[in-house]
Symmetry: C2
Subunit: 137 residues, 2 copies
Amino acid sequence: MTTSADSSAGPTADPRATVGRYWTAADLRDWDTFAATLADEVVYDLPQTRERIRGKEPYLAFNREYPGDWRVRVERIVADRDGRQVAVRTLFTVDGQELHAVHFLTFDAQGRIDGITDFWPEPYEPPAGREHLVERY
Amino acid sequence: MTTSADSSAGPTADPRATVGRYWTAADLRDWDTFAATLADEVVYDLPQTRERIRGKEPYLAFNREYPGDWRVRVERIVADRDGRQVAVRTLFTVDGQELHAVHFLTFDAQGRIDGITDFWPEPYEPPAGREHLVERY
């Protein structure tokens, strides 16, 4: 049974479930299922590089072409009560290194993702002067 | 009328309003109002540096002592339906430079912030090879 290419986010879609499908499909490189979670007019934003991608096809190409042996799992989902905004924390593993990411998603009236803003915060060394207040883990 | 030091987040506190007070108070260095939004056992996490601060007093000291001429404004709040988790995007201005930040907050039964996880994603140059898909802004 292969319904993923035809499946729709659906008018009563739960954004939390849609976000789960989005990330599971990305992790599996299942681009048909991934595409089904997206609105045609989806806009992808990367504030750190000031890059923007407009439309489902360019955004699918961006993901299909993304280099590296990466895996992703969802750490936390915060979904607002009206089902139109979700914030997600993920943990990527890229060539054996773990990397946090944060994603803000918006949804259209049909429950499809129409806006994605990604943040990629990298590890850094803490500045000196606060050792008396913090522990390291 | 100075009630801020005695004010409580309150058992019916709206997490969205509490988060608004938290950031406005931080921007104004109004540490009494800031403290009133926090649970005594608040835990602050910085996954990028693997630093952790346990307790309201050390966390207040961390903020009071934080160097630099910084201002902050809230860009977006995503609050979950049960009032226990919020994700926030902020824009900091530090010595004239703008910096995005992302914060995940949790709340205790009294509506006080008992968990804060901060991410500080810095600007970077995009890798080559995706110019055909993106625009810059």
